[in-house]
């Protein structure tokens, strides 16, 4: 049996992701064409004459056949042109470039917090099943997922900002006293560090803390539960018995043997939770006045501003594809069996 090399596997997985990307482009195109309302009439404004609307229609290329429109759309995509937002007056690409990092930074921070808490808790619960520690952890996780994020967010603001005053006002990514760092990655935490501005880093972190905790609490439950279940399964498996019967130290049995095997379901859940958070943090963005793409898309939808919606859907879909690709590749790193085609 010839074992494919890692680079072969990576190339193969990337090629396998291509059809998804093509599918995403087609669906985005059809979906925006299927939205109710006449964009030409909308662009021309309420006072426009029929002739003016036709004029706009021709300018937008909407008088052409669907197939022609599709090729024009794909051509625009290749040039990196997603149209112009009516609300902000900026190109959609510019808007997304400034707002996507805000959403990603928030989601990633929430996820990192959740992992840092959920994995140790899950392992702890699995090593002491049905103890009071296990029950306590279950209670915490269930509470986190059953409270809606906007409630947790508002509650945390009330407690930590309004009553205790330990965090800054929930007004976006930075206190107004600071100006944004030069854009390198778009993540304020990273950019401020790269430009060596520690004060700015602290200010950005302080703003990020509460919304990240709010998201993290929500992600805690699925991650803790999966970690616990997966570790329990591994700890009762045959090879763990072998490891114990060989006299390996408990630390090595728990982390070296059981945990590495338990990682696969954890990583899968991580991917699901991440894509879910990215789409579902609109409420958190609203509560904390966070300038992310979630709130951007909602505003565009309310105003029937189609170009940003199209851009939003396309971006999210591509993110999911990339995310799944990353998780696939992570599998290959963790599990030698994943590289072998069945």
């Amino acid at each position: 049996m010839a074992k494919p090399s890692t680079s072969q596997i990576v190339t193969q997985r990337i090629l396998a992701a291509l059809p998804s990307v093509i599918g995403v482009v087609i669906v985005t195109f059809l979906l925006t064409r299927a939205l109710p309302g006449d964009p030409a009439a909308f662009f021309a404004g309420p006072a426009a004459t029929a002739a003016a609307i036709e004029e706009v229609r021709r300018n937008l290329g909407l008088d052409k056949s669907l197939l022609e429109q599709f090729f024009l759309y794909v051509g625009d995509l290749f040039r990196g042109d997603l149209g112009v937002s009516l609300i902000t007056g900026q190109t959609v690409v510019y808007d997304l470039m400034t707002r996507l990092p805000a959403s990603l930074e928030l989601t990633l921070a929430g996820l990192v917090l959740a992992i840092a808490l959920a994995v140790p808790l899950g392992v702890l619960a699995a090593t002491r099943p049905n103890s009071w520690i296990d029950h306590g952890i279950r209670l915490l996780a269930t509470a986190g997922v059953s409270l809606p994020t906007f409630f947790t967010g508002l509650f945390l603001i009330y407690l930590l900002y309004y009553r205790l005053g330990v965090v800054p006002a929930p007004l976006g990514r930075l206190n107004i006293l600071y100006s944004a760092p030069p854009q390198i990655t778009g993540f304020y935490l990273v950019d401020s560090l790269l430009s060596g501005n520690l004060g700015l880093f602290g200010a950005a972190a302080a703003q990020l803390f509460l919304p990240a905790v709010t998201l993290g609490l929500f992600a805690l439950a699925p991650l803790t539960r999966v970690t616990r279940a997966s570790m329990l399964g591994m700890l009762s498996s045959d090879f763990i018995r072998t490891a114990r019967a060989s006299g390996l130290p408990p630390r090595q049995v728990l982390f070296g043997y059981a945990f590495r095997n338990a990682l696969l379901p954890i990583v899968t859940t991580l991917g699901i939770v991440f894509s879910f958070l990215l789409g579902a943090n609109i409420l958190v963005e609203k509560v904390f006045a966070w300038p992310g793409i979630g709130s951007y898309a909602v505003e565009a939808l309310v105003a029937s501003d189609y170009a940003p919606i199209q851009g939003f859907i396309l971006t999210m879909a591509l993110l999911y594809v990339v995310l799944n690709l990353l998780i696939d590749l992570l599998y290959v790193v963790i599990d030698p069996r994943a590289g072998v085609e069945s």
């Binding site: 045959d238 490891a243 114990r244 019967a245 060989s246 390996l248 963790i334």
Partner: protein, 323 residues
């Protein structure tokens, strides 16, 4: 070398307390191969797991001793602390398991699994660990050890996995090896190879072996003495020859009659009627074979405790009216 005395183990489950082992007695002399035979559910594996200290959480030792003596140590395996047991496991006594494919870590190179064991029981420098592991792979007659060192269990056949398992168990030269159904799931030819390998290695290293199997024919071929278990009781233990020539417990006799042999026709095989009794039952009979026994006499066999007697110095039977 190993002397198990009055060992009782219970499992606490939601459905009730399962009396998995009751007053189990047997011993193993240095260099000897002892077979533990019995049908599924008779407590063979529970005995092995108890001795290795890898019983499930629900299992509890309620009575008994397991005295283990080697050149280096003399301890009661059931009284030792977890950390000192860990020193013994893999080094003084080791175990190989049924189903070698699942008994190895699926995502770690098999060679590294062997070096893991070597590392925690020896003070070999890291460079020598690999050499020693390769030497172990060669000693279990694995072709091309350097290449197999880097293989993962899924890339190897069941027979090869079992050899890896043997190499792993013998890496630190234990004095006692417990082999729990080492040939389950292997084809007949591989079975013979693996068993002969075990036999040769045991002889080479003068290692005592406990062979757990449901295969009476296999036990008769490789064991010096045989312990017959039924429903958590040791019903008979004797040297292999006398056990087969003159079984004294009705269960042993039936077991022998039910064992296929080349000269026997299918019609000559006698199935054993009935099932194992429910070990959760509160009113479990003192003789756990009584419901399946033709010689059952309620006045005699209902007495508590069950009569355990030595009919000869090396022949024990747990029966009121032995054959």
């Amino acid at each position: 070398m190993l002397s198990v005395e009055d060992l009782s183990v219970e499992f606490r489950t939601r459905a009730g307390v399962v009396k998995a082992l009751e007053a189990v007695n047997f011993s193993v002399q240095p260099g000897e191969t002892v077979g533990i035979v019995g049908e599924s559910g008779s407590g063979k594996s529970v005995t092995a797991f108890t001795l290795m200290g890898v019983l499930d959480r629900a299992g509890q030792v309620t009575a008994g001793r397991a005295l283990f003596q080697s050149n280096r140590v003399a301890v009661d395996l059931l009284k030792e602390s977890e950390s000192s047991l860990r020193q013994l496991r893999g080094q003084e006594l080791s175990m190989i398991f049924q189903n070698p494919r699942t008994a190895l870590n699926p995502i770690r190179q098999v060679g590294k699994q062997i070096t893991d064991v070597l590392r925690c029981h020896s003070d070999l420098p890291p460079a020598d660990l690999r050499l020693k592991a390769l030497e172990m792979l060669a000693s279990v007659r694995i072709p091309d050890p350097v290449k197999r060192y880097e293989a993962y269990p899924y890339e190897l056949s069941g027979g090869l996995c079992q050899r890896i398992m043997i190499a792993l168990a013998l890496a630190c030269s234990p004095e006692l090896l417990i082999a729990d159904e080492p040939t389950t799931g292997l084809d007949v030819t591989t079975q013979t190879t693996v068993m002969n390998l075990l036999k040769d290695l045991a002889a080479q290293r003068q290692m005592a072996t406990v062979l757990i199997t449901h295969d009476l024919a296999l036990a008769s071929e490789y064991c010096d003495r045989i312990v017959v278990m039924h429903a958590g009781h040791v019903v008979e233990s004797a040297p292999t020859h006398s056990l087969f020539s003159q079984p004294r417990h009705p269960y042993t006799a039936k077991l022998i009659a039910a064992t296929p042999e080349p000269h026997k026709s299918f019609a000559e095989l006698m199935p054993i009627g009935g099932n194992l009794p429910d070990l959760k039952a509160m009113d479990l009979a003192p003789c756990r074979f009584s419901t399946r026994c033709d010689r059952f006499d309620s006045a005699l066999c209902g007495q508590t405790p069950l009569k355990r007697a030595a009919l000869a110095p090396d022949h024990q039977v747990a029966c009121w009216q032995p054959l």
